[in-house]
């Protein structure tokens, strides 16, 4: 399936540490990391995405959040939100 192949390709890209798919309640439904990290990422990022989305929509209700990237010293967290779920990818580009 096309989606499975794309996920495998992403997983094999240089520096990708993990992929997490979280549903709208903040519960991770698919992950490639260990359990404790997954739960931690899911919970914290869930709040961040809600806040970010609320910010974008407050400024203009017709607008909506499409992508969120958080660059930190050690890695980069990319979040692709949708109505019912969001996709988190953690990458360390210097690997």
């Amino acid at each position: 399936m096309l989606i499975e192949e794309t996920l495998k390709r992403i997983q094999s890209q240089k520096g990708v540490q993990g992929i997490i798919i979280v549903n709208s309640e903040g519960i991770p439904i698919k992950t490639t990391l260990d359990n404790s990290s997954t739960v931690q990422y899911a919970g914290l990022i869930h709040q961040l995405v809600m806040k970010a989305r609320s910010t974008v929509r407050d400024i203009d209700p017709q607008n909506d959040l499409t992508f969120l990237r958080v660059r930190s010293k050690k890695n980069e967290i990319m979040i692709a939100p949708d109505k019912d779920y969001f996709l988190i990818v953690i990458q360390n580009p210097s690997d």
Partner: protein, 662 residues
């Protein structure tokens, strides 16, 4: 216990306006349904009932509706006629209610104690007579005894207090206004699932986040799919949720965007170099020990070189040989690459991949073709149409815009189609445009059967007209029996006058033809004695063209001279492909099997300025210049398309030397 509250006999409303007490009218008790929503009843009585034995019949009225209200309601209905109307009022007597009833006992006159009773009766009658003014009887007040109070305890249902809070945001209000349209589809299934907790509905409206189980924190518009999931019950576990997500198209798109972002990170320095942006040092990434910081040496000019940026390759294309490449006319970063084995021993079906610099590891579109691809070109007028010529002579036009790419039209049914490999295919815009702005464009092909055809789409198919037959020009001594046509290998239209074109043939001859004359060649240029692999007009200098051939040479011609102006040769290998640089009129690139050569006629006409050898075991097969940047793309026999950046190529001796940052 039992309910022992005494029922009142009547309900007097002390608040009723007394003025109305004198009025009495009878309402139709059956009038209206307003009887149910009235708590106050005004009773108007004709006379109070006396306590004593005379119980007069009384008129017991109870207006069931508020007088005031009734009057207001009736105001509109009362007209002049109605006022003059004679209204009949019926008064009826109610039943008598007896409060005290002590029946007298009758004693027969003849009984024993009849006399005593008569005596007593007489005494009683006298007492009644003497009652007034008699001393014996004194008026005395009495207090009625208060009855025993009984405590009754009643317990009502406990009132559950719930704290709710809501945060209203601008987008929440916007969503609420929008949602009636979206809710229409959700309305029906919602009615059936009324037994589900209301909590879900409320919190999904963007109320304050509840951390309780089962609450949804999805902000934004009502998510109908979320409701479905909840409505399906708690039996929906993560597995099926995941399946639902995986199947959605939106997820596919999100994955695409994410993949591009990741690759953007990975390839960022290369892509920045491609775009000629300064490459920023990432201060977060620690410098690996051992790397020497290379500073730009501004004093002495560095020699021209190519730097390999990246290579488009994936597992699909590995092992196939790149036969042709073309840029899209509208989006100059979209590259179509055709793969096909050119030696007929290996008959693998062909492949066309559309690559974008956003993802160098996987093509945007993959098209499987029936036979090996030999040439391709994008259309001018419909930039999503890609014409592909194949080894079996067929010509197919694909539309690359949609993911499920469809073949637009194929030439398989055409009767005049080529029967031999289509070596080159070209869309050309014609100058004549009498009507409107859009230039007409036409599709031309040259094939190994010696024909040059012009194609057009008709009746859902392709049809062609022959533009030229490549007749063999041989001396009168030899008489060839086999075929009178010589295979054409390449052609190119004049950049300014699209009716003139050049054709290179197998015999090494180059013919100049006109599209209006299909019988004769205008000119023939002879120099090569091996098949001419590529011919190309110079885009910047008029009437100059280059040709390359398997006889190891490259020739530079001017249109009106029958002999080449210059000839170049550097190695003893067949030159496969040759291209002019779009920016600099003296620079051109050539690819022979073993290396990439960049020639700069300003610097040297004997040797190429830059030579890049191919990787061992790999032959370079095709070449393309990037239109916007100083990069060159080289396709090789392993299916890789490598992007090289030209560095330090001086533009003319007198102008400044361009130095690039690291």
């Amino acid at each position: 216990g039992n309910d022992v509250t005494p029922q009142v006999l009547y309900q007097a409303d002390p608040a009723a306006v007394q003025a109305k007490a004198s009025r009495f009218f009878m309402d139709e008790i059956s009038a209206g349904g307003s009887a149910s929503d009235q708590t106050t009843t005004t009773g108007s009585f004709t006379m109070p009932f006396s306590r004593y034995h005379s119980i007069t019949p009384f008129l017991f009225f109870c207006s069931l509706s508020d007088v005031q209200g009734k009057r207001d309601a009736m105001k509109e209905l009362v007209t002049e006629d109605m006022l003059k109307e004679v209204i009949e009022v019926y008064i009826s007597e109610t039943d008598s209610i007896s409060l005290l009833d002590i029946p007298s006992t009758f004693v027969s006159v003849d009984a024993h104690d009849a006399e005593a009773i008569i005596e007593r009766n007489n005494q009683y009658a006298e007492v009644c007579r003497n009652r007034m003014g008699n001393d014996k009887y004194v008026d005395r007040s009495m207090q009625t005894l208060n009855g025993e109070a009984k405590n009754k305890q009643v317990q009502s249902d406990s009132i559950v207090m719930v704290d709710t809070a809501a945060t209203v945001t601008a987008w929440d209000m916007y969503d609420t206004y929008i949602s009636p349209e979206q809710d229409e589809t959700v309305c029906v299934p919602q009615a059936e699932r009324a037994d589900y907790p209301e909590v879900a509905v409320d919190t999904s409206r963007g109320a304050e986040k509840n951390m309780s189980v089962g609450s949804s924190t999805s902000t934004g518009s009502v998510a109908s799919s979320l409701k479905e999931q909840e409505a399906l019950g708690n039996g929906l576990n993560a597995e099926s949720e995941l399946q639902l997500i995986m199947l959605s198209e939106k997820f596919q798109h999100l994955l695409l965007v994410t993949e591009r972002s990741i690759l953007g990170n990975v390839f960022q320095p290369k892509l920045a170099a491609y775009r000629e942006l300064p490459i920023l040092e990432d201060s977060d990434i620690p410098m690996k020990p051992g790397t020497v910081e290379q500073r730009e040496d501004t004093e002495s000019p560095r020699p021209p070189a190519v730097e390999c940026l990246w290579a488009f390759s994936c597992e699909l294309s590995r092992g196939r040989s790149v036969s042709s490449m073309a840029w899209n006319k509208k989006y100059p970063d979209l590259l179509a690459v055709g793969y096909g084995e050119l030696d007929s021993s290996n008959q693998k079906p062909g492949l066309v991949c559309c690559w974008s610099h956003k993802n160098p590891t996987w093509p945007e579109r993959v098209i499987y073709c029936d036979s090996a691809v030999t040439s391709l070109d994008f259309s001018f007028n419909n930039p999503s149409q890609l014409a592909v010529g194949m080894q079996d002579g067929s010509l197919v036009i694909y539309n690359v815009q949609s993911r499920n790419q469809l073949c637009v039209v194929s030439s398989s049914e055409c009767t005049n189609k080529h029967l031999a490999p289509v070596w080159q295919i070209r869309w050309t815009q014609q100058d004549l445009s009498l009507t409107g702005e859009e230039k007409l464009e036409a599709l031309y092909t040259v094939a190994a059967d010696g024909k040059i055809c012009k194609w057009f789409i008709c009746n859902n198919g392709l049809d062609c007209i022959e533009l030229m037959k490549l007749k063999k020009i041989h001396n009168t001594k030899k008489k060839s029996v086999l075929s009178a046509l010589s295979p054409g290998l390449c052609f190119d239209f004049h950049p300014r006058d699209s009716s003139i074109y050049l054709v290179g043939t197998w015999e090494g001859l180059i013919h100049k033809c006109s599209s209006s004359n299909s019988q004769q060649f205008l000119e023939t240029y002879r120099k090569h004695f091996c098949p001419v692999n590529c011919i190309i007009w110079c885009p910047l200098i008029p009437d100059v063209f280059l040709s390359c051939s398997s006889d190891w040479t490259i020739q530079l011609w001017k249109q009106d001279h029958l002999n080449p102006v210059l000839g170049f040769s550097s190695t003893q290998k067949a030159v496969c492909d040759i291209k002019w640089s779009p920016k600099c009129a003296t620079v051109f690139g050539a690819v022979n099997e073993g290396q990439l050569e960049i020639w700069d006629l300003n610097s040297s006409i004997l040797d190429p300025v830059i030579v890049q050898p191919a990787a061992p075991g790999v032959k370079m097969t095709s070449l393309l210049f990037a239109t916007q940047t100083d990069c060159v793309l080289v396709g090789d026999s392993d299916g890789q398309v490598t992007v090289y950046q030209l560095k330090n190529l001086s533009v003319g001796k007198n102008s400044q030397v361009k130095l690039r940052n690291r």
